[in-house]
């Protein structure tokens, strides 16, 4: 994993995430990836913009201090 460049980064709660893919096209720097049953957020690419957080239908995304 690359070092975070933002003060806050997005993290996913994989127990809640349904792998619906909705958050991927919302993420400007392409930091979110689906790899089969894994949703991976690249902490080094995340800019902390929060665009992915509220739209998640199940609230599986949150911001944490980097």
């Amino acid at each position: 994993m690359r070092r975070p460049r933002a003060a806050e980064v997005a993290v996913v709660n994989l127990a809640a995430c349904d792998r619906c893919g909705l958050c991927l096209p919302l993420c400007p720097p392409e930091a979110i990836h689906l790899e089969f049953d894994d949703l991976v957020i690249d902490r080094g690419a995340c800019t902390g913009c929060r665009k992915c957080v509220a739209p998640c239908p199940v609230g599986a995304l949150a911001m944490v201090d980097a």
Binding site: C20, L24, P25, L26, C27, P55, C56, V58
Partner: protein
Amino acid sequence: MPDVDILIVGAGPAGCVAAAWAKRAAPELDVVVLERDRAVGTPVRCAEGVGDAGLREFANPEGAPWVARKISRVIFIAPNDSEVRVAERDVGWILDRTRFDAFLAAEAGGLGAAVLVGTEAAGMTPGPHGRWDVRVRSARGETTYRAKVVIGADGVEAMVGRWAGLETRVPARDMESCAQYVVRGIDFDPDAIYLQFGHDIAPGGYAWVFPKGVGIANVGLGLVALKSDGRNAREYLDAWLARRYPRGACAGYTVGGVIVHTTVTQTYTDGVLVAGDAAHMINPLSGGGIVNAMKAGRLAGCTAAAAIRAGDTSARRLAAYHHAWMELLGLDHLKYYRIKRALEDLDDEFFNALARTVNAIPQERRTLGRIFTHALVKHPQLIPVAARFFM
């Protein structure tokens, strides 16, 4: 390294129909479809409703095993729960998407395309002679496919377009966050679909009941998170269900995103086409995208096949796909998008009043055209909406 003519990413309606039409247009071509899910058509992230005429362009629904229910009425529910019935005859169908998508994949397979499940595209880079090298992962490990044309039919994720340098990102205001249950044991008209609007119900979207049979339906909603009060889509749905169907038993559960935008500004580049949700080809007013995805898939498959036969898969040649799509539906979607944006400014009281006006028209004369005319006379606020529509 497997070398193929056309590599399609995603075996939804867009990808399966693209594969079938590429093989119909040029049977000698190698066509491969990649699908991440372990089986085509699962999980279902859809309310499964389609219009009659659009569906019939691709398959005959009468007696088909992939149909759940025929629909002959639409019932709009205003924010204050008053119902408006719109009488129409052959409105559409509720599909069984698991079976329908599998039927489309089998059709592509029958024409000679290979559909590989449990297999995902992980990225791509330009290869020699205008080809694309696509990284492909499965339980068997990672390989690279070399393809003359890649069709991105990867749904809401729209990553193939991004890998190829196309702008397929979605502004948050144009993303509907959806949640849906399959609910049993509820009372409703099984020949009708129900749509309810309201700021406290589904801000920026609507809630729906799409019957799969008597007493069983897809019950869900879509909303724009920027307009929500802080709750997510599932929490809004739980509240709506508790109010309308407190005794319903929830069987299945799903969530997903619907892009209510206009077609991406460019759907092609050298050796790449994007189709269906991956190119934002959903009707931005209704959120329906199944038939659109099939129409785009047909165009993409035919365009790619003809380009390979002609030995020219450059962006200049593939641009024909974009123009054909815009002519077919893309320009309409630009108009629908303007209506969507205008409707966003209207409040719940407006829709309650509109429901009263429309209910004053005798039901057998309640065509959509007449509703619109009456609405304009009684509700001058709608005039700017109409103006923007016809602009």
